[in-house]
């Protein structure tokens, strides 16, 4: 039996976030949230869509060796926190064969990649990852 990782509708409804890194901006006070939320800290419930910028800075990262099963073929994973125009996003850092060359403060860009593949019957999940602008 295939252990399906994520159902189609569950994945489908997150496409604006996974494909375009779409957060929300409060219409009243201008705060930006990623992931989106329903109520702002100022109390307002009115938001507009706000795609995050595609270039930012690496804040911190770790090299994860003990990975969830669906990432076994990609290990180790580099997991980082990235600042995109003042909003912090967590995700994988890719295209970096030598993670020891990474350091906080370097420039990274958002790239669109396969996140995981779901066996015989499932779907292929795509989403954002981050790539250092200068090789590493």
């Amino acid at each position: 039996m295939v252990d399906q990782k994520l159902s189609v509708p569950r994945y489908w409804r997150r496409i604006p976030q996974y494909y375009r890194l779409e957060g929300v901006q409060c219409v009243k006070c201008g705060r930006i949230y990623y992931p989106p939320r329903a109520v702002c800290e100022c109390g307002s419930r009115e938001f507009r869509a706000y795609p995050l910028p595609s270039v930012g800075k690496l804040i911190n990262y770790t090299v994860l060796y003990s990975v969830p099963s669906e990432f076994e073929k990609m290990k180790p994973l580099v997991i980082g926190i990235v600042d995109l125009g003042g909003v912090r996003v967590m995700g994988q850092i890719v295209d970096c064969p030598d993670p020891s060359k990474l350091s906080p403060g370097i420039d990274v860009e958002v790239v669109f990649r396969m996140v995981k593949m779901d066996g015989n019957y499932g779907i292929i999940n795509y989403g954002y990852k981050f790539r250092p602008l200068n090789s590493c």
Binding site: R14, S66, P68, I79, Q92
Partner: protein
């Protein structure tokens, strides 16, 4: 502000953490529940609060409360399961406490039970991923260990520590665990053992993580002490939260849910952190134990590894931290973890062997879900 009805822990019991292949959830629960009930002199309990995080994913079992109560012959006793990830026990304790304070029941039981060894590590890891924000963290491969590693790295760079400095936590916990007959890990380790262990998520190593175990623990709470000798009274409870998505945090070296829960518990008990003699913190990863102490105000920010290596938090000092050996040496039984800490603290305050030399009167127990999601802090006092 608060009424004067007291809440007392009148008995406790713990099943040693381990791989209990021959026992299921109900056998583990019954073992700890019946022992605690016997220790209390078999008062009737009005309700049972069951802390458990993963029964659906690991045992395919829902409606856990009713299923467990029936097994111990209490089919007419309401049994309510509380799920708050690995912080379930503190939350279950809070519910039980409220029921006594409100006068609804005279005595209730709080049990934590979890079986981590029923499944392969792949399925266990999947269950553990539920204590991250799955759509935005788990989906991309982020695990609780990776989040703790990020916090550890930030802490080391902020306070200028090397990994060797941080390794004092597992060394101290194993040292304490070696004297605790209820510990799962009862072997002292050296700095070299820690340094040689495999990297889980750099800089975090295998020895920085509490080993997953099966386990169960129970405390019986009543509105009056059932015996005339020393008893333990619940003087304060606190709870705090700090959002989910880790990316939204401006820093990872302060656990705000722990700070809020501590302040609430101290305020309720009308006391200060300086009066505390014993602390049990939720050290699923070394760094979480360190950050919990600093967020509670037991140690100053950035000071904990140094204080530990100077022996300032050892038994016999002003305040002893994790006299039990912590989850690092007792093991990590998921949603029952906080019950391990609570029962240990009960023993520490009662002076039960091997904690008969602590002379602690006031203790704090800190439990937490995930990385600073929801935390509880309970202040216990030995009274005569």
């Amino acid at each position: 502000m608060f009424n004067t009805t007291g809440v007392y822990i009148v008995a406790s019991s713990l099943v040693q953490g381990g791989r209990h292949y021959e026992k299921g959830l109900k056998e583990l629960f019954a073992e700890s529940f019946l022992k605690a009930l016997d220790n209390a002199g078999n008062p009737g309990v009005g309700a049972i609060y069951v802390a458990n995080a993963f029964a659906e994913s690991l045992q395919d079992q829902g409606v856990l409360g009713a299923y467990l109560a029936d097994y111990v012959g209490l089919r007419k006793t309401p049994a309510i399961r509380i799920e708050g990830g690995d912080g379930s026990s503190g939350l279950a304790f809070l519910e039980a406490y409220n029921m006594i304070r409100s006068g609804i029941y005279d005595c209730v039981a709080v049990s934590g039970v979890e079986k981590m060894s029923d499944v392969t590590s792949i399925r266990l890891n999947k269950a553990l991923a539920t204590i991250t924000d799955y759509e935005y963290e788990g989906f991309f491969g982020v695990t609780p260990a990776a989040i703790s590693a990020l916090a550890m790295k930030e802490y080391m760079s902020k306070y200028n520590y090397d990994y060797e400095d941080m390794a004092i936590w597992p060394v101290k916990m194993h040292e304490r665990g070696s004297a605790n007959p209820l510990a799962y890990m009862r072997r002292k380790i050296s700095l070299k053992d820690v340094m040689d262990s495999e990297v889980v998520s750099e800089p975090l190593r295998l020895y920085d993580t509490a080993p997953a175990v099966d386990g169960a623990g129970t405390v019986i709470l009543c509105n009056k002490p059932l015996k005339n000798d020393a008893v333990v009274r619940v003087d304060g409870v606190g709870v705090g939260s700090n959002g989910t998505y880790i990316g939204q945090r401006s820093e990872l070296t302060m656990l705000h849910s722990v700070a809020d829960a501590t302040n609430m518990a101290l305020r309720m008990a009308n006391t200060e952190v300086g009066s505390v003699n014993a602390v049990e913190v939720h050290d699923t990863y070394s760094i979480l134990g360190i950050l919990a102490l600093e967020s509670m105000g037991i140690t100053r920010p950035g000071e904990t590894p140094r204080a530990l290596s100077l022996g300032q938090l050892d038994p016999g000092g002003r305040v002893v931290v994790n006299a039990s050996g912590g989850l690092k040496s007792m093991g990590f039984p998921g949603g029952a973890s906080g019950m391990y800490e609570l029962v240990s603290m009960h023993m520490e305050l009662m002076g039960t062997k091997p904690f008969d030399n602590l002379n602690a009167e006031v203790g704090l127990v800190q439990d937490m879900s995930g990385f600073d999601l929801t935390s509880t802090v309970i202040l216990l006092r030995r009274v005569s």
